[in-house]
């Protein structure tokens, strides 16, 4: 009997979740359409004034990314919980926190990465300059995995509860605030010519902190949910 190594187990979880996402392309497409539509409504609603759009760009795009993450959190553990796959995942002979990292990474690839890749195009609608577009993309690249990590804790804590969708929003939205402030602030500072390094560094710190603690907290919450 050969036991899977930690990296093999991690790869296995990621591969399974990505394969499932491929079978549910409509879910992935819906997240992308949500981001595109919400981000496009603001220029239509506010009007074509470039100065106004530039001011609201960072906030609007970051809140859109945040909501897209929130919408997809329901899919993170619920299906596995209902069909018994989560039980089997808990019995994989590797630390559960490592397997959680795999699930969160797959979640980010499905829901966060498309937002990151689309962000330069969305930023153009708001009249962002080349450098600001770059900062926006970089901030989302650092921030969206953090959102997925934090969101996973909420998704695990509310697993199996009635009205978990609303509850997870109430739990994680306050925790998203620092990421939102640093992410949107990076773009705003870039537009003001102040420099976005400090905000990006703080975003990086948030990512590392969430990587260190969120999988562990999520694993504990999952064990409680199944107990």
């Amino acid at each position: 009997m050969s036991q899977p190594s930690m990296s093999e187990a991690l790869r296995g979880v990621v591969r399974r979740d990505l394969l499932l996402a491929m079978r549910h392309r409509s879910d992935v497409a819906m997240s992308v359409f949500f981001v595109v539509i919400v981000a496009s409504l603001f220029p239509l609603g506010v009007g074509p004034e470039q100065a106004v759009l530039r001011v609201i760009a960072s906030g609007v795009l970051w809140v859109t990314a945040l909501l897209a993450c929130l919408l997809s959190l329901g899919r993170l553990f619920t299906a596995d919980y209902l069909d018994g796959v989560l039980e089997q995942t808990l019995l994989i002979p590797q630390p559960l926190a490592v397997l959680v990292v795999g699930k969160v990474f797959a979640h980010w690839v499905i829901s966060g990465l498309p937002v990151v890749l689309l962000s330069p195009l969305l930023g153009l609608q708001f009249g962002l300059s080349g450098e600001s577009l770059w900062v926006l993309t970089l901030s989302l690249l650092l921030g969206t995995p953090t959102l997925s990590m934090i969101g996973a804790i909420g998704a695990a804590l509310t697993l199996g509860l009635r009205g978990s969708g609303l509850l997870v929003a109430l739990l994680v939205l306050p925790l998203f605030i620092p990421v939102l402030i640093f992410g949107a602030g990076a773009v705003t500072n870039s537009l003001a010519g102040i420099g976005s390094e400090a905000n990006l560094s703080l975003l990086g710190a948030c990512f590392l902190l969430s990587l260190a603690f969120a999988p562990w907290a999520t694993a504990v919450a999952l064990r409680i949910a199944l107990d």
Binding site: M1, S2, Q3, P4, E8, A9, G12, V13, R15, R16, L19, L20, R23, H24, L82, D83, G84, V85, E87, Q88, T89, L90, L91, I92, P93, Q94, P95, L226, D227
Partner: protein, 245 residues
């Protein structure tokens, strides 16, 4: 109040026809063909509850190599909870579960590497084909997961090749259960914990599974099964734990 009753045949009371409370079940048989140490798996004074309801208390049982423990009892008697405790998915109120005389809470992943659990839920994905489901679960369990091995396992459980490439969601409940149970044909782990494995199965599938259990036991494996069904295995390799109210 719940009592633990031990019997060597479903419906038949063990030893002196007594209902035992706070009992330690003793096995009278010796079945150890592979030389694996005896008393590998034990529960000691295990008590469990769901909410305010006491399911069972002070269950002490030993499962030796080459033997099957059939956990029987009416609906709601706590069979599933008992099995989930043995997996480590559920925490007991009291008592300990020992694997090779060590507490499973200390062994953690070392213990889960020794068991295969087939739960009440199938643990398969409707969107994936039976082959994909089995490949993924075998890969994650560290079992052989090549396409050919997986196909052979599915055929061994009586699932024809035509069903291998269909999404699992189009299969019947019985076929889905077969996909789940095909994991046992790939598993090389010594301890199998099976929750109602015969549910939804037809006679042919029950026979396949019984044969597979027999092979596993003959190799020195251990099985704990929660079931309502009589298991057609030699009586010297089967013991019963009855959970009753």
């Amino acid at each position: 109040m719940y009592f633990i009753e031990a019997s060597d045949r479903v419906g038949e009371t063990f030893a002196n026809s007594t209902t035992l409370k706070s009992s330690t079940l003793r096995q009278s048989f010796v079945f150890n063909p592979s030389g694996i140490p005896r008393n590998m798996f034990q529960t000691v004074a295990l008590s469990g509850s769901r909410g305010d309801r006491q399911l069972f208390s002070d269950v002490s049982v030993t499962v030796k190599a080459g033997t099957l423990l059939a956990v029987v009892g009416e609906n709601g008697s706590g069979k599933t909870s008992f099995l989930r405790m043995l997996c480590g998915l559920l925490s007991p109120d009291k008592g300990t579960i020992l694997w090779q005389e060590k507490d499973i809470r200390q062994l953690k992943e070392l213990y889960t590497a020794q068991l295969t659990y087939v739960g009440h839920l199938n643990g398969i994905k409707d969107e994936l084909t039976p082959v994909e489901n089995l490949k993924v679960s075998a890969y994650l369990a560290g079992d052989a997961s090549s396409g050919e091995t997986v196909q052979q396992a599915l055929e061994a459980v009586g699932l024809g090749r035509s069903a291998h490439r269909l999404p699992t969601r189009v299969l019947s409940q019985g076929q889905k259960r077969r996909v789940t149970l095909a994991r046992l044909w790939l598993s090389t782990r010594p301890l199998w914990l099976l929750d109602e494995p015969f549910a939804s199965l037809d006679t042919a599938a029950i026979n396949y599974l019984t044969q597979r259990l027999q092979v596993h036991l003959s190799r020195g494996g251990m099985v704990v099964v929660a079931t309502h069904q009589e298991i057609a295995l030699p009586t010297d390799s089967v013991q019963h734990l009855r959970l009753t109210r």
